[in-house]
């Protein structure tokens, strides 16, 4: 269970999140929707511990842990995974090397046995097949020269291999054509499990046709201003975010 209580986050001196409260029980998929600049990406960064995103007030609890007290790598080892809106290019580091290094770092942190190369390659082959990814691409430096769709698939592949329990997807649909969107969504749906919580951050309802949320929340002005079932997403699609925007001064 993810419990966010009255979370305030500033970037520099600028307050972005202003008292966000949200519970996501294990096994559920919650969508966070909202207008541009509402603080959607900030929420993802704050949960994963990005330096510069300072929690000034409130608490975040995940699986009984005070998440805000942990380093980014420690959060990752506790199961937090952020799928980036714009995945980062890592020159000179083959994708396979990167993921295996990350996986074993997490396993070490949890006191688990590391995965040897042959077993790892087997895992990767299976996972990349499901996402219709060319295995040879994984020998190339991570994300360097990848298309937008390839980068997003790479994020989902990492998610499948690292087996996180708190999955945060930041605008995973942006930059995807309809076929890629379907493949990526199928990849995400395959990861739904009773012990996993998922937070799907998106501007458009489109993604939610593929990844069906249990709950939908509207994030505006730095806090959750409305919550409802899947029907709320359709309503937003039809009516827009206007009624949630602050009145012009």
């Amino acid at each position: 269970m993810l419990k966010i209580n009255n979370l305030h986050v500033s970037v520099g001196d600028k307050p972005i999140l202003k008292g966000l409260t949200l519970d996501v029980p294990a096994g559920e998929v919650h969508a966070i929707m909202g207008p541009n600049g509402a603080g959607k990406s900030t929420l993802g960064y704050a949960l994963s511990g990005r330096p510069g995103y300072e929690a000034t007030e409130g608490s975040v609890e995940w699986a009984g842990e005070d998440l805000l007290a942990l380093e980014p790598a420690e959060r990752a080892a506790k199961g937090v995974f952020l799928s980036f809106q714009y995945p980062i290019e890592i020159p000179g580091v083959p994708a396979l090397t990167f993921v295996r290094t990350a996986l074993n770092a997490q396993k070490r942190a949890r006191g688990e046995e590391e995965v040897a190369a042959p077993a790892f390659l087997k895992l990767v082959r299976e996972a990349s097949k499901a996402l219709k990814m060319d295995f040879d691409m994984l020998k190339r430096p991570l994300n360097v020269g990848f298309s937008g769709g390839e980068k997003k698939r790479m994020e989902i592949l990492q998610m499948a291999l690292l087996e996180p329990s708190l999955l945060i997807l930041d605008e995973t649909d942006s930059g995807l054509d309809i076929d890629a969107l379907r493949i990526v969504s199928e990849g995400v749906n395959a990861l739904r499990r009773p012990d996993r919580a998922m937070l799907v951050i998106t501007h458009y309802q489109r993604l939610l046709d593929y990844i069906k949320p249990d709950r939908v929340h509207v994030l505006a002005g730095g806090r959750i201003v409305a919550s409802g079932g899947p029907e709320l997403a359709h309503q937003l699609e039809a009516e827009g975010y206007d009624k949630y925007l602050p009145e012009p001064a």
């Binding site: 994963s48 380093e71 980014p72 790598a73 980062i88 890592i90 580091v93 290094t101 770092a105 990492q158």
Partner: protein
């Protein structure tokens, strides 16, 4: 992939400079300071022929008339050349050395450094593991050279240069100083006058050297300069891969290391020379460390000859070093692959010179500089094309990576093309280790130091791949260790 994992394991385990120990070895010194008598003393100690003494004395005279160069982008306290020991040797019996006769303290040093000196230890290793012959130079003298007999069967001569001067004086005389003349520069002249040991390699025509050769330099004594001389001759159609490594104890004084390496490659010969330089870099405040003022040059005399320099420079307080190739032979080829990592208060001014004299000669330069802390790194390179050298090609790529906001990185490429047919390419980039990349790697579970190690190893990968396999892993670890504490 395994290497990366190992890198990360090692980062956690190792201290910053694990080679900083000193050893209590009984040594004999020449009196402090430099004069003609010291030069005579060294020559006599080595039992050198008369012509060699004359050569040294002439070099000493030249040195007296020269001035220390100041054009490099490095700042350091002036060296007091009269306040140094020019000769420090572990006390031991004269004559042929077997391992049993070497001071156990010295053997312990090499054991701690992980350098195999016992041939059977190397042989007992994993089946199929490459074997490496080692010449171990301790302060001013070579203490042991392994696999000499086996190499001799292939006709390869691998021995301390002091021994070669006695056993193969004509061969040494023919080539010594023919690539780096005595008067080439201030430090080369000094080295020519006082060098006390180093390695000599001769590969006969058509022979592919059956194993990697390596020389391991260790400075141990305090207030002592190390001046070693390496001479490698690859006769027609031969091949050799050679590696040098170096470490020194942590001391709060600066120590001088002024080496000269000469390589001669005849027709169709190929020499691959790799360096993993890990001299003591000084402490966090910039106290102590080695002044590494080195002249390395290869003469690609023969047609189709090839020399490749690969260097991983992580140590030393100040580095001044430009491994170069004179491409005399037609279709000869020179390569320079470099990783220069500076952290703390280190300064490095390093690069290469590719002098194209032969027709259709070609060269390739890949230089990667990683600067962190308050360090400063300069790539200085020259690509020169002689008027008669037609069809010359060069490709140069200089990439700099900055970590933090207090370091500096500079690229100074000189190009002199005096033949219109030359095709010269130059690419350069400077990037900062990005917060985005660091956070991305951390989000996937890497600690900050693991993330830096992985990203930097990615940055230098092109060059690491040029190292012999067994040293690439070592170098990868070194990259990680040198950058510990560089972020945050």
């Amino acid at each position: 992939m395994a290497a990366v994992k190992e890198t990360i394991d090692t980062v956690a385990e190792l201290e910053r400079y694990k080679y900083g120990f000193t050893s209590d070895v009984e040594q004999e010194f020449a009196p402090k300071g430099l004069n003609a008598d010291i030069v005579r003393f060294i020559s006599e100690k080595k039992g050198e022929p008369e012509w060699m003494l004359e050569w040294r004395l002439a070099a000493y005279e030249r040195w007296l008339a020269m001035e220390e160069p100041t054009w490099a982008a490095v700042k350091y306290e002036p060296v007091d050349y009269q306040d140094l020991f020019y000769y420090a040797a572990p006390k031991q019996k004269e004559g042929p050395k077997s391992l049993d006769e070497v001071d156990p303290e010295i053997l312990e040093v090499y054991k701690k450094l992980g350098i195999p000196l016992k041939e059977q230890e190397v042989l007992a290793g994993v089946q199929g593991a490459p074997r490496v012959a080692v010449d171990a130079v301790f302060d001013s003298v070579s203490v042991v050279t392994t696999f000499k007999e086996e190499l001799a069967k292939a006709g390869v001569i691998f021995m301390p240069i002091s021994e070669a001067l006695r056993e193969y004086p004509e061969l040494v005389r023919q080539y010594l100083g023919s690539v780096v003349p005595v008067s080439d520069n201030y430090f080369a002249a000094l080295n020519s006058a006082v060098f006390s040991d180093g390695s000599f390699v001769y590969i006969p025509p058509g022979v592919r050297c059956p194993m990697e050769l390596s020389t391991y330099f260790r400075i141990n004594a305090s207030q002592t300069g190390q001046f070693e001389r390496t001479l490698i001759i690859a006769d027609k159609g031969s091949y050799v891969s050679y590696l040098e490594g170096c470490t020194a104890p942590m001391r709060d004084e600066n120590q001088l290391h002024a080496a000269v390496v000469e390589i001669v490659a005849l027709d169709d010969a190929e020499v691959k020379y790799s360096t993993v330089q890990n001299w003591y870099p000084g402490d966090a405040e910039g106290r102590g460390g080695i002044y590494n003022f080195v002249t390395k040059r290869a003469d690609c005399r023969g047609d189709r000859s090839k020399v490749s320099w690969t260097q991983v420079e992580t140590g030393s307080a100040v580095t001044w070093k430009y491994p170069s190739c004179i491409l005399k032979g037609e279709e000869s080829s020179g390569e320079f692959y470099s990783i220069a990592i500076t952290n703390g208060h280190q300064q490095a001014d390093t690069g290469t010179k590719m002098i194209h004299l032969g027709k259709n000669s070609k060269s390739r330069i890949i230089a990667k500089a990683v600067s962190a802390g308050k360090s400063d790194s300069t790539y200085r390179g020259l690509v020169s094309v002689h008027p008669k050298a037609t069809g010359v090609r060069n490709f140069t790529q200089c990439d700099s990576l900055l970590i933090g906001k207090e370091c500096g990185s500079h690229t100074i490429p000189y190009i002199e093309a005096r033949n219109g047919s030359a095709q010269l390419e130059h690419e350069a980039t400077t990037t900062r280790l990005s917060d985005d990349q660091l956070f991305y790697a951390q989000q996937r579970g890497l600690s900050q130091e693991e993330a830096v190690a992985l990203l930097v190893n990615g940055f230098v990968r092109d060059v690491l791949q040029e190292l012999p396999m067994e040293f690439a892993v070592e170098a990868q670890k070194l990259v990680a260790i040198s950058l510990e504490g560089s972020v945050g």
